[in-house]
Amino acid sequence: MIRVEAVRWTYAGADTPTLDGLHLHVRQGETVVLCGPSGSGKSTALRLMNGLIPHFHEGELDGAVHVDGLAVAGTPLERLGRRTGTVLQHPRRQFFTDSTETELAFALENFGEPPQHIRERVAAAIDEHGLAAFTDRRLQELSGGQQQQVACAAAAAHRPPLLLFDEPTSNLSTAAIERFTATLRRLRAAGATIVIAEHRLHYLHGLADRVVAMRDGRVDAEWPGEEFATLDDEALRARGLRARTAPERTRPLPAYAHGPSIDHDATPSAPSGAGLTLRALRCAFRGRRVLAIDEAHLPAGVITAITGPNGAGKTTLARIVTGLQRHDGEVLLDGRPLKPARRLRESAIVMQDVQRQLFTDSVEAELRLGVPPGAELEERSRTLLADLDLEPFGDRHPLSLSGGQQQRLVVAAARLSGRRIVVFDEPSSGVDRRHLRSITGIMRDLAADGAVVLLISHDDELLAHATQQELRLRPLDGHRDPDVDHPTKRPGWYGMGK
């Protein structure tokens, strides 16, 4: 089905090739997982298979790629598109229309299928992928997990023999990952050839026919699925891979909190001491209440995970404590009431889409922005850059860095900001094992310096490593099953649903 032979690929403007000496054959009907550290070329390898390289991305390509018997370089993108279905990392960014039905029809319409046929296919896809419950909602209002379901269905609607997934679970909750696994299983049983680039490996157990570890743009090692299942953690670490089994979540201590939005069985007695105190907190969007906390304490010096299904108000709570969101009720820091404008000056956030918060023209300037200068700062930023593997890039423009490097840069800036409230919003999406550790280390350092550290994440591995306390939220319309993803019904962190 796929033959990649001696491929060397350099993105336009890059000094070093991203792929170098890549050989990879995928048989028809096979499910292959591509893994490896950040920057090893996983996503680039997928682009090779759907023709985005060399037809969409610019650069220099040597070697040969054949997909379903077609030479990729000599075949127009639309012809390749009929044979491949691709799901990108952020489903919401790839939707072209605003409803499930039109999104599923999009490829079929463009490929000129007869209307009657399109309607049948769309109806069948809604059925197969279990989308009937949200056909009447706007795509941007769906939860991350639901958007992922629609994106999978839309990629498969024209029944391509080859399906490609780029880090499909990076923003999914455990329940959503289970649904996604079921989708994969169904597609695989139907005979599709599947290639998945992924960091999180535990959900793929029993699904992968072959696991390919990449490093420096080529295949570093590969195992048949059964053999991979017997590897120990040591062997995985040596290849820079994440754990194969889901980490055991020992339930961390619940934070002191009560109110309609709080989903704790028991809550410790009222604490005292430094940190954030919330009183009679209420927040509504367009008349619909999304968060109600009677009282809560988020202590300084501790990493508190804010968990709960999508739509429970995690992001809203983070926006409130950092002063970005209007609300009713009171927020106190170290016992003193603080107005939103003051909280803005006490807060830092590592956002999901970090490009939105890189403002300057060099890595070093980015770290200095908004921080009082001093010899100590120089010293600290140097160590920090070394810890995060950013040392060689001090003079580089932040936008010329890779996604993972940009994310670590924003983490470093948050570390140096000296702010008392620091929020990490899904900081581990697309992060490999080593950097997962270094980011966790920075969160601990921040806490040790007396900051209130809040972590919003669906990543069990990160939560298991980092969490010291948990504030579990639940959606306010209580008749729904709390295990199911809920619609966000409002524009996410900053305008767009996530």
Binding site: G51, L52, H55, F56, E78, L80, G81, R83, T86, L88, R93, Q94, F96, T97, D98, S99, E101, T102, F106, A107, E109, N110, F111, G112, E113, P114, P115, I118, R119, E120, R121, A123, A124, D127, E128, D136, A156, R159, R186, L187, A190, A192, L344, R345, I349, M351, D353, Q355, R356, Q357, L358, F359, L369, G370, L399, P491, W493, Y494, G495, M496
Partner: protein, 252 residues
């Protein structure tokens, strides 16, 4: 080569019953025609007498989509603006008031046409609009780029909001900063905005191209637009409104 998922469910699957709301739906081409014709008549020199007819049309359209607030608000807004334009100068004869009244008379035409245009915006999905334009034989270069624009504009707005939030957190977003270092403030806003919208645009266009947008094949439509009874009724209503306006002797 193609895949078959499920077992023959394609034939047995019921037709999608997605549109459950019972509202009168006009063909998108009719809606475009209504907007074009009402703006042409109302905005033309001497178009003032057609303002009441356009407002009535806007209210009727709002009623068909059950937009009660607009059905009520549109005539209120129009009469408010009309009062400023025609009654205020009589009650308060003053040159400044005169200027305001002239501006209001001009704004009145926009209110009237706006009611009709809002109906188009609120009831037409981008894909429907593209399909309708395609059916009306509008060249593909226009329909494809129009569809991309419609999809992309809200994304830019969302990114801009996010960047503004990030700036507020970094303490570089305030008015004081803008006044003291205007150029640097603009840079701090524009650079991340361009970077993040470019990324969104890249994902969007990659996904759209892979799914055949702009392919050489002539695209089809899941639900080809069709003129129906509602469209005939709309034409009739417009004819009656125009006739009443003309016969009332308001147009000389």
């Amino acid at each position: 080569m193609s895949l078959t998922l499920g077992t023959g469910s394609v034939e047995s699957a019921p037709p999608t019953a997605v549109r459950t709301r019972r509202t009168v739906r006009l063909d998108p081409r009719t809606k475009i025609l209504l907007v074009l014709s009402s703006s042409f008549v109302v905005m033309a020199p001497g178009g003032q007498p057609f303002v009441p007819a356009a407002v009535v049309l806007g209210v009727l359209l709002a009623l068909t989509e059950r937009a009660w607030a607009r059905a009520l608000g549109l005539p209120l807004a129009a009469s408010g603006v009309a009062a400023v334009a025609y009654l205020l100068p009589v009650a308060l004869p003053h040159p400044a008031v005169g200027i305001v009244a002239v501006a209001a008379a001009f704004a009145l035409r926009f209110v009237a046409v706006g009611g009709v245009a809002l109906h188009l915006v609120h009831t037409t999905r981008p894909t429907e609009l593209t399909a309708a334009l395609r059916a009306a034989r509008v060249p593909r270069a226009i329909t494809v780029s129009g569809a991309v624009m419609l999809r992309f504009l809200p994304a830019i707005v969302a990114e801009a909001r996010a960047v503004r939030d990030a700036m507020r957190l970094r303490g570089i977003g305030g008015w004081s900063g803008l006044l003291r270092h205007p150029l640097r403030s603009i840079e701090h806003f524009a650079v991340p905005l361009i970077a993040s919208t470019l990324r969104v645009a890249e994902d969007l266009s990659a996904s759209a191209l892979l799914r055949g947008l702009g392919a050489a094949t002539r695209p089809t439509t899941m639900r080809p637009p069709r003129f129906g009874a509602a469209d005939a009724a709309a034409v009739l209503v417009v004819a009656v409104l125009a006739a009443v306006t003309l016969l009332s002797g308001a147009v000389r």
